[in-house]
Symmetry: C2
Subunit: 300 residues, 2 copies
């Protein structure tokens, strides 16, 4: 499976609408423009109306009369965040996308008790990687949101990632809780948490997947490495979802895949009423498109 | 710089001797044989004399009369560990190498108060990676020894790695304490530790290097990524030594470089009276040779 295939799948969905908070930004409108060209969504753009229109006149004239775009005036970034979140909670839009505003501002609106998108579950980051040499997507979670999740949080992070994998057509993903070793070591919490997560999976507390761990990264992704360590079984070396033990390990894996392994990535926040796309300025246009596709497929 | 260049450098050293604990093993003798062919060391082999000789007769006849090899009878793995460590502490050998025995057995001998190799410093793992597309070696520490080092341990782990970088000819390595973000966040210990390590470097508590952090992996290794984040300076994106915040992050980075980025690696344990090579069965013959070269260059 490739990330491009997610775009094709997303384009077959009926009528998804994305609400963009603070859309008056060249790079954000570029992502909107590409997504519309690929036919994967319509967009509600929240920001200063004049600034959006000026940018469109200058750089995106084809968007001015596009029926795939609607412009909604917001006075500032806080207002844009509030209005875009309300568009999602009211059902007018199905995906929330961060434009040119601070992550903290949009998350504050998402977590608002009155009109926000809370479900009682924790929010977590799910990244889908296409790695050269691997014929399946590798989902990495949580590389960006939860700093040092405890066991309960890890269980929910897995559930959030499993939902994303299902949405991409991976019907029963294999989940590997990663650690530095593949044996249980009482001095290493990631190994004991992994053992508990396997038990939670077997007892029906984590559904729709097979959890197998603890595993070191090589034993999780390489059948050959798993066999060398004597780890044999239907899941060894075949992980679809890599649960990292902490945000540092996740961020390092994420960046290593991008910078050393030339991987491609799309990522979303799961756990809210709707998928959230939190792209940053350093993300490529391609990566923003993959994130949008992943979000659209993950609409509940 | 390449790992092969380390072999060339090591071959120019005068008379290094490696003591091998539990050498009666085909893969261990294969590594010994290759290292001798490259002219980088002589070897003292500790194990059951008959088993070593039988293996040599079968598979390595050229080693039988080699003046680069001496055989020293040991009754079991504990005895082999003791005798090989004593060979190093007495000055007969300059590098300790683990053969076919448990890591715990050889480390117990290393840490013995009477004849061991303790210096008062902590032991730490230093790996030198050659990553396709990178024209310098990337040293990663500590991916295998210290589980969750505190600030003091991190300072010593840096010193150990700096010594290895110096030994490889990197005269003033740039050290990046890695975190998930490049700003100081009181909720993320790796970021506050990084700030302290920078201060320790500026105050002369960590010498022979430039420490700059906190940095995320991309900002540490990519000048372009650093510039995109507005991190400008003579060190941004140019790290030689990557200090990982915990063993999980380190192990994941190590395995990611090996399995996703097709990197090559050599690794040693630093902090004892002599460099220690702790290769494992899953290491390639090439990797064992690089580790030996790194160890020989690191002889004090």
């Amino acid at each position: 499976m490739t990330l491009d295939s997610l775009i094709v799948q997303a384009a077959s969905k009926k009528g998804p609408v994305v609400a963009v908070a603070s859309a008056a930004d060249r790079e954000v409108l570029e992502a909107v423009s590409v997504a519309i060209a690929k036919g994967i969504a319509s967009f509600m753009l929240f920001d200063d109306e004049k600034r959006i229109k000026d940018l469109m006149h200058t750089d995106f004239p084809h968007l001015i009369d596009s029926e795939k775009v609607s412009i909604h005036h917001a006075e500032d970034t806080i207002n844009a965040a509030t209005l875009s979140v309300k568009a999602v909670s009211s059902g007018s839009a199905h995906v929330l996308m961060k434009g040119n505003l601070a992550t903290s501002i949009i998350l504050k609106a998402v977590l608002n008790g009155e009109y926000g998108l809370k479900t009682g579950k924790i929010l977590s980051h799910v990244a889908a990687f296409e790695v050269p040499g691997y014929n399946r997507l590798l989902f990495v979670t949580d590389a960006a949101m939860n700093i040092a999740p405890d066991l309960e949080a890890k269980a929910q992070i897995i559930r959030n990632a499993v939902a994303a994998a299902h949405a991409c057509g991976v019907s029963e993903p294999i989940v590997a809780p990663l650690a530095a070793v593949e044996t249980v070591n009482p001095a290493m919490v990631p190994t004991t948490d992994a053992a508990s997560l396997v038990a939670m999976n077997r007892r029906g507390q984590i559904l729709g997947c097979i959890v197998d761990g603890p595993l070191a990264l090589d034993n999780a992704v390489s059948e050959k490495a798993a066999a060398q360590k004597g780890i044999i079984g239907e899941t060894a070396g075949k992980a679809d979802i890599l649960l990292v033990p902490n945000i540092e390990a996740g961020n390092i894996l994420y960046k290593s895949l991008m910078y050393f392994a030339n991987a491609k990535v799309g990522a979303i926040i799961q756990g809210a009423k709707a998928p959230i796309v939190l792209t940053s300025r350093t993300d490529s246009a391609e990566s923003k498109l993959y994130s949008l596709a992943l979000a659209i497929l993950s609409i509940k």
